[in-house]
């Protein structure tokens, strides 16, 4: 059957047209043509500008006829377009009254906010033509990918181990040994490595189209780029420069193929999404899209029309305007349904809870819509629960039980504990138990807490134990950028050293940190490269360093193979023991009749913690019969943490009759005897006491 509405009703020059469908927004392939639809509340008129791929001058400018506007939406079908060879944009005519928030400029060609494929930066780092009148070019995407039966994995949140990585930095270094370094395709080649390590979820730093040349500059002969990419051009398009096939415009296929392969290997994919601002900057910034389409709708503006800056990046996306809210929802639904994405981490998510004037809301509609959305129903939602405007909501993010948070307090408290600060035992207990002090009211149980000690932002783990201070001179901002509250300790020398004892202590501190992380309740997150001692040479804010500072040096994998092995076995240990992965908080009592509470805390004396300010020794016992609320039976686990610089003997609580203690790991021992294959631990000689070396963590298994 041929539908009546697949025939043109209008002509403009050589083009055949008809009124389009307002939904979906963006460009959609329809029988015999392409349906274009774009929103603007305040524009008087709109034109569609068509280019052949990469050509400087448009080959057509087609006005939307009056009858093609429905409400605030301009929409039409253009017939017989060679849509593989087309780049399209819009021009909007409307008021220029900046102090009322309107900044229309009918000479600017604007990118479609719903563009699913964006050309213009097809190959990473290739100098663009700055005189091009249309820099970031919307293209039309095919959606005929063969998923071969794939679907999101839906791994329970408490069973996740997240691994944060930067798509380019992960494989760009010459040591990565991949065919197309720095791309989705190269990341696919590294899946076997990730399988060996054992993580089951990758969190990708922004992969949406951004401009690596935004604020690019040269410092001491080094070109600095917008390398991290926390600055979106388009929310619907994967970054072309991250795809080896970007020069063929096939980044969508390449990225989907990567996700399919991750899923096939049991690894979920979480995207870092940046809905707090766009790449258009402040009043001085360029016209890319939103500013020229409907400035007042898309941005938070002061009463006199200036951009509010809660993001620290010049502007703030007006997330709780219903139009923008729907765009965000459409966007996430698109990634979840079309790309099979398993979850999202929201950068500076506190902004999502600010109203249109910037004030924090108690029940923000966007946060609620995302929590209850049917299509996102099984997606993980993780908030970075603070913003650059001073709103800090760790433990109070208004999302309810569907939302987890990056637990910044976990990071700070565990760092201070490891470094040897006083008065830490009370908070460390909370952190290890999944931060019930922050999340018990929240309803999400331990899964509300994404525990991490390092992430892309701040020191990497090797630098956390190698530097007292940040060293960001290479960023060209006189070392003023980047955080100062690192809670780091250099172990006796600032930076690299040949000193055997310092290096030994550093590796031990890394092992201490990861041991604690992987026996804490909640969802652990590891920063890529930390498992083999990757360094950023003291730079704690490598956002602009597209070079050896931030690229993972894979040659360290061989040099630090014992560290890698240690992390691999810790991960295996966590998966083997459900008692480490409860999804509810502990009750501190025996509710299954085992004679032991679910968790009990100990000091150098069993059942007796020394809470003195200067005490740095603490231990805990997990009763295996309480695993998963007593639903499964596990071994008992005892973890002794001595972050004091002296050795201490720990009296071990006794086990039920017939059971014995076995030693799984001891960070004070030289490899390969520092850790065992889980299940094959040797029996502990003295069942009543163990010596825990200075600044060391020991893990025992009772069975």
């Amino acid at each position: 059957m041929i539908q009546v509405d697949s025939f043109p009703t209008h002509t403009f020059g050589e083009f055949k047209l008809r009124p389009g469908k307002p939904l979906p927004f963006g460009a959609t392939i329809v029988p015999n043509g392409v349906n274009f639809s774009v929103f603007s509340r305040a524009a008087y008129s709109c034109e569609l500008v068509l280019f052949r791929k990469r050509e400087k001058e448009p080959f057509a400018i087609i006005p939307f006829f009056d009858e093609f506007r429905i409400g605030n939406v301009f929409t039409m079908v253009v017939f017989d377009l060679d849509y593989e060879d087309i780049e399209y944009g819009f021009r909007m005519d409307g008021p220029w009254i900046p102090n009322e928030g309107h900044r229309f400029d009918k000479t600017k060609i604007l990118m479609d906010p719903y563009a699913k494929l964006i050309g213009g930066r097809d190959v990473w780092g290739e100098d663009p033509d700055w005189f091009d009148m249309y820099q970031h070019r919307a293209r039309i995407v095919f959606d005929d990918f063969d998923w071969e039966g794939d679907r999101p994995l839906e791994i329970p949140m408490e069973d996740l181990i997240i691994y944060e990585l930067h798509v380019r930095g992960f494989t760009r270094h010459s040591s990565s040994n991949t065919k197309h370094p720095g791309t989705f395709s190269a990341l696919k080649e590294k899946i076997p490595y990730l399988n060996v390590l054992g993580i089951n979820c990758v969190e990708l730093m922004p992969i949406h189209e951004f401009d690596e040349f935004e604020n690019s500059r040269e410092i001491n002969g080094r070109k600095l780029l917008n390398y991290w990419g926390y600055s979106n051009l388009g929310f619907f398009a994967p970054k072309a420069g991250y795809a080896a096939s970007g020069k063929f415009g096939m980044q969508v296929d390449e990225f989907k193929s990567l996700i399919k392969e991750f899923h096939r290997h049991g690894i979920e994919v979480i995207l870092d999404v940046v809905f707090n601002h766009t790449a258009e900057g402040n009043e001085m910034g360029p016209y890319i899209s939103y500013r020229g389409l409907d400035n007042k709708t898309y941005y938070m503006l002061s009463p006199d029309g200036y951009y509010m800056n809660f993001s620290g990046c010049g502007n703030t996306l007006n997330c709780n305007n219903p139009i923008v809210r729907n765009m965000i929802l459409d966007c996430l639904r698109y990634w979840a349904s079309e790309f099979h994405i398993d979850g999202f981490r929201f950068d500076l998510a506190a902004i999502l809870g600010r109203d249109q004037n910037g004030a924090p809301m108690s029940n923000p509609p966007l946060i609620e819509s995302l929590a209850y959305d049917p299509i996102l129903g099984k997606c993980k939602l993780i908030a970075e629960a603070w913003d650059a405007g001073g709103l800090y909501q760790v433990g109070s993010f208004p999302g309810g039980s569907r939302w987890a948070e990056w637990n910044g307090k976990y990071r700070d408290d565990i760092r201070r504990f490891i470094k040897g600060d006083e008065k830490m035992l009370g908070v460390v207990q909370q952190r290890i138990e999944g931060s019930p002090d922050l999340y018990k009211w929240h309803g999400g149980g331990t899964c509300a807490s994404v525990n991490f000690i390092t992430c892309h932002d701040g020191f990497v783990l090797m630098d956390l134990v190698s530097y007292d201070h940040k060293h960001n001179e290479a960023n060209g901002e006189d070392n003023r950028d980047g955080g100062d509250d690192n809670h780091s300790w250099n172990c006796g020398w600032e930076g690299e050293t040949e000193n055997y004892w310092i290096n030994r202590l550093r590796v031990k501190q890394i092992k201490n940190a990861l041991s604690i992380l992987l026996v804490s309740q909640g969802v652990p997150m590891i920063l890529s490269g930390d498992e083999f001692g990757n360094s950023q040479f003291g730079n704690n804010n490598a956002y602009c360093q597209d070079n050896e500072i931030s690229w993972l040096d894979w040659s360290l994998l061989e040099k630090n193979q014992y560290l890698h092995n240690f992390v691999k076995l810790l991960i295996k240990f966590r998966f083997k023991h459900p008692v480490l992965r409860n999804n509810t908080h502990f009750q501190h009592r025996d509710y299954v009749g085992s004679g032991y509470p679910d968790i009990s805390w100990h000091g150098t004396q069993a059942w007796n913690v020394d809470y003195s300010d200067w005490s740095r020794t603490i231990a805990f016992l997990l009763c295996g019969k309480h695993a998963k609320n007593g639903m499964v039976e596990d071994d008992y686990i005892y973890v002794a943490m001595n972050l004091h610089w002296e050795m201490h003997g720990f009296q071990i609580p006794s086990l039920p009759a017939g059971m014995s203690w076995y030693i799984f790991s001891n960070t004070d021992v030289e490899p390969p005897f520092d850790i065992c294959e889980p299940g094959y631990e040797p029996i502990l000689e003295n069942q009543n006491e163990i010596l825990v070396g200075p600044r060391s963590v020991t893990i025992l298994v009772g069975r």
């Binding site: 060679d82 849509y83 593989e84 060879d85 095919f142 005929d144 063969d146 071969e148 197309h180 791309t183 989705f184 395709s185 696919k188 795809a243 080896a244 096939s245 063929f248 415009g249 096939m250 296929d253 390449e254 989907k256 193929s257 990567l258 399919k260 392969e261």
Partner: protein
């Protein structure tokens, strides 16, 4: 620019020889030809691409089409692809379901 393609069917095998350029200007025509194979009990579709100079994403999609529409049990072969074409095929994950060969072997 016109691509030349030539389809022969022998014992349930469709042999398709492609040359020149395969892009949006002619991918549709090839796709239409392939549609005529639906329901003809084709077990194998073999693309001979030794003389293919360029394939655009629309061209690749015709090959995907062969896999998806002619029949899920149909085996699709890509024979004689040059390294540029092979790279694109691999980067986009199409190598998962294609049999890639230098010269055609049953």
């Amino acid at each position: 620019m016109e691509s030349l393609f030539n389809i022969k069917i022998e014992n349930g095998t469709a042999k398709i020889t492609l040359s020149g350029r395969l892009d949006t200007s002619n991918a549709g025509a090839l796709s239409d030809e392939l549609k005529t194979l639906i329901g003809q009990d084709i077990q194998k579709v073999v693309f001979f691409v030794n003389d293919l100079e360029y394939i655009s994403s629309a061209g690749l999609r015709v090959i995907i089409f062969a896999k998806q529409k002619i029949g899920t049990d149909t085996r699709v072969y890509l024979v004689g692809a040059n390294s540029t074409i092979l790279d694109v095929v691999k980067m986009t994950g199409m190598d998962n379901f294609l049999f890639i060969q230098d010269t055609y072997q049953d």
